[in-house]
């Protein structure tokens, strides 16, 4: 559980900056930040499951 929370924290910090520095208006920035955060989490979980089945 702790590993997941650390991953969420990492994703949150990175997505705050990536969201804040892109797009034109605040709404688009929010949406982009949330999208980047979700992508970090989903891809992280997917890679976690994928690597679980690889023995080396």
């Amino acid at each position: 559980m702790r590993h997941f929370l650390v991953m969420c924290l990492f994703a949150a910090l990175a997505s705050v900056i990536l969201g804040a520095m892109t797009k034109e208006d605040d709404r688009e920035r929010w949406l982009y930040g949330v999208k980047v955060f979700a992508e970090f989490i989903v891809i992280g979980l997917a890679l976690g499951w994928l690597l679980y089945f690889i023995p080396w």
């Binding site: 910090l13 705050v16 900056i17 804040a20 034109e24």
Partner: protein, 144 residues
């Protein structure tokens, strides 16, 4: 805008000198580049994320890189992560001067959060490079 148009636009509006100063300040103290331009929310969000990432990394027992190579390792291999770490500016320099976060301690390396800490410290520097570029673009008038 095609490349030639962009080059013409750059010729018309040269980068103001203070933009370079803002860029250096933004690198040295994360968030200060935006604060000097009265972009308080950006300063708090972007600078805050860098500071938070840095201190969380240290708290987790992360290790920063300098040119002193570990046993059995090449100095060249230290350079890329060192460049990432240097992105935190004064945070890196002060830590280096005080010897915080540079110790090659096997007990520290055995901590479960050691690698997480390393990653947070690297990412703090890389995110601050992005923050610095954002502050520079705003100062240069390339961004609203």
């Amino acid at each position: 805008m095609v490349k030639t148009e962009r080059m013409q636009a750059q010729e018309i509006a040269p980068t103001p000198g203070n933009a370079w100063m803002i860029g250096v300040v933004a690198w040295f103290i994360p968030g200060l580049g935006h604060a000097l331009q009265k972009r308080w929310v950006r300063a708090a969000l972007m600078g805050g994320a860098v500071w938070l990432s840095f201190f969380i990394g240290l708290q987790m027992g992360g290790h920063m890189f300098d040119l002193s190579a570990a046993e059995g390792s090449s100095t060249l291999l230290q350079v890329p992560p060192m460049i990432a770490n240097i992105g935190t500016g004064a945070l890196y320099i002060v830590s280096w001067l005080l010897g915080i976060g540079f110790a090659d301690d096997p007990v520290q390396a055995a901590r479960a959060t050691y690698e997480y800490g390393n990653t947070f410290l690297l990412i703090a520097g890389l995110l601050n490079y992005l923050t610095m570029l954002d502050a520079f673009d705003i100062a240069a008038g390339r961004k609203p």
